[in-house]
Symmetry: C2
Subunit: 458 residues, 2 copies
């Protein structure tokens, strides 16, 4: 008896052309979630996903309504109670294709040129969703599935997944799984398979500083009133020390220390000083000298000024001593920080440091939690092995600086951690004209997902 | 033979009703300089002024064109070469009367209610101009003028006197005088005759701080880039020390020290801590502790943040790490500071303090010089004596924090210093509905101007 996974891999190799034809079919549906006039296309894309789940023999396949575009759900629990359950996340919506005249071929008429398959959504992320469908199909049609599989395919990722949190909260029991496979995070290079296991959270606030009761003439009153724009600048300047450390009382108390292994993995990442210099266009990097740039972005908290507004900001001059000044301030948070506590820490800083000659107000705007997946969990180990088998090398491990709603919501509302990966490359031009997918990487990706399914079976 | 000034004073007292009727006549011309549709009224007001100068027997009376509304000029040099020459400044334009429905009587139909004469321009400054015309008339019709008199009556004061500088430059020789009497500065109370002898100058700049080459995602790059809004705040925070002193190198080097007499005069001013607290609405004053609030406003230089702009300033949140940040920064200057030198001092500060991980640019926007009149000059002494005689008490001496173009231009282009006074009161509601003039003060003012003319004769 041959290794069952060899049959599945053979199946996938044998059907590459058809897989690509199916991808072309779903790319042809312009499911632009932000555009009202494309709502029928969004629904068609959801129906396409549902019909493909049905074709795979999934049960309970439904196009489920939300406050916005629907979620496609389906599952197969035939592997039994003792088998692992994998929740597969994806999104069927895409970004608008504008500006159209920059496309070398139609955004919704996917075509191959050389090693690339061009079209809106080929990389972000219809190509990734089709990869999961085809990996499951390959296993299903050969050995049968050794694990239970659930699908959560949303239609609002490109517009902020604003209805997904409520959906996950409501359907937490239905979504229960040992791990969520989220292939929307990409890899750092065609030969750099990558697992993303952490995301930062956010606490976004607005600080308002009030001085005189109305805008004053800077000639008639300049010299006797603490200028609120100056006072705001003084307060902001004190929020970091000279080494870029944040001075809010207790800010670092709950910051989880990076383990030796994590730091070793960070050191392996290709995103180094040079990368950040190139990507940002600054002449010198900034930040805590004790940490690598990638650690500062992925695993250290920040305090960022997102906006400043006071007084006269138009062309030319107006001699106003402004009545108030405003700053948008947000902190990126890491385990085990808490947005509410950070709000209190900034308040405590202001209470201690704000001069008595101004008034201030700190307003909570939005927040989101961080996410972290245990790198020693069976799901991460299964993906680690799968990528290693497919690429012949250990994957990179990274923590990302931004937030991804679904990962946090699955963690916080359904108790499901995510293993983030994917086969999109940094130069795929997602969200831009001529979005593309690297076909050799895609085929390798499908094979790695086949390995992942078998690895999850233990 | 009676004292000639007694006849002039008698004349003025005798003709009060007619003076008021003439003021009513000029108030009735709605010479709103900012409103195109009132241009014919503006011209009519200029002609009214010219006809009254002619009626006084002035020579060379002209309505002289400028780039905007005309200047009315006239002179009498009959007192001879050895007599002093007084240049009398005024403006015949007014502010718009809006909102009209708040006026208790028509803004251009001046009426007396109690001790007040209500109407647009009664205080600012048709009433003041008429006071000078009537004082000169009283002297002329009784003893004859013991001094030469020139008139410079503009029509654009309420819209920034933007064409007056060029006019003064071009006609400097014509405007030559021993002193300019400028009655547009008012007094601090009905029983507080006031001489204003100094004005602050201005150097207005824009500081731009540049960081990354474009706005960045604060999640993907927060922690490795010096946020330009934060860097700007740090630079601004360092521009003052803890005592409110400005830290720019050399900033105070040329600041003229206040004399003992000046400080005594400042101490007499009723604009004290309480006044400034009430007028600004702040709970605590701010600024250099070694100086009185009125000194800080009138005789000390400042550095003020007039505006701040960076990143996201709309409602809610946007997680941007902004590419740049901007501050409008202006310094109020005192003798003997120079706007160009202050620009260089701020540049030197930035060169020394700006971190290497950002770029900055400092742009000159506008500037204007300070003005100061020698308090021991014959013109000021003549006015001091005049006010003392009319009110029976020594006038207050103040330096104002703002700029008045004509005063600086006369000083810098024509070499004529100004003695600033006037009979407008702080509660005259100039620029507001129900503008009014306090008649007892006005009559006393006319008498003080009669004394001033005789005092100038020595």
């Amino acid at each position: 008896m041959t290794d069952p996974r060899q049959n599945a891999l053979e199946y996938a190799r044998h059907n590459r052309e058809r897989f690509l034809a199916e991808l072309k079919e779903i790319v042809a549906i312009p499911s632009i979630s932000t555009a009202d006039e494309h709502k029928p296309d969004v629904i068609r894309a959801a129906e396409w996903m549902a019909s493909h789940l049905r074709a795979l023999g999934m049960d309970k396949v439904q196009v489920m309504p939300t406050g916005g575009h629907p979620v496609v759900y389906g599952e197969t629990m035939k592997a039994g109670k003792d088998a692992a359950t994998v929740l597969i996340y994806g999104h069927y919506d895409v970004q608008p294709p504008d500006p159209l005249h920059l496309w070398e071929s139609g955004p919704f008429n996917a075509v191959q040129r050389g090693d690339y398959f061009f079209g809106r959504g080929t990389s972000d992320m219809k190509g990734q969703v089709v990869a999961t469908l085809k990996a499951v199909e390959a296993v299903l049609r050969t050995s049968g599935l050794p694990v239970n599989v659930k699908w959560l395919i949303e239609g609002e990722e490109e517009i902020g997944s604003k209805n997904l949190g409520a959906f996950i909260k409501k359907n937490a029991a239905m979504l229960k799984a040992d791990i969520c496979l989220n292939p929307d995070a990409g890899m750092m290079g065609a030969e750099l398979p990558t697992i993303t296991y952490g995301l930062r959270g956010l606490a976004y606030m607005e600080l308002r500083v009030y001085g005189p009761s109305k805008d004053l003439h800077s000639g008639l009153y300049g010299g006797v009133v603490h200028n609120p724009a100056q006072a705001l600048a003084e307060l902001i300047a004190g929020m970091h020390d000279k080494n870029g450390k944040i001075t809010l009382p207790g800010f670092y108390d709950k910051v989880r220390k990076l383990s030796k292994r994590e730091r070793e993995e960070f050191a392996r990442l290709p995103a180094n000083k040079k990368t950040y210099l190139e990507q940002t266009g600054v002449s010198l990097l900034w930040g805590e000298p004790a940490y690598l740039p990638s650690e500062r972005v992925g695993a250290r908290p920040t305090l960022e000024i997102n906006g400043l507004l006071s007084g006269w900001t138009g062309q030319g001059s107006k001699t106003v001593l402004p009545a108030h000044a405003m700053a948008k301030i947000s902190c990126r948070l890491v385990p085990d920080q808490n947005p509410d506590e950070v709000y209190k820490q900034l308040s405590a800083y202001l209470k201690a440091k704000a001069p008595k000659d101004i008034r201030w107000e700190l307003i909570k705007l939005t927040d989101s939690g961080w996410a972290i997946t245990d790198v020693n969990s069976p799901g991460v180990k299964a993906m680690d092995d799968a990528l290693k088998t497919a690429w012949g090398k250990r994957p990179l491990y990274r923590r990302e600086g931004g937030s991804i709603g679904v990962v946090v919501q699955l963690q916080d509302y359904a108790g499901v951690e995510s293993v983030l990966t994917g086969f999109g490359l940094p130069d795929d031009d997602i969200h831009s004209p001529n979005e593309r997918m690297h076909l050799p990487t895609w085929y390798k990706g499908i094979e790695s997902l086949i390995h992942f399914i078998y690895n999850m079976a233990g």
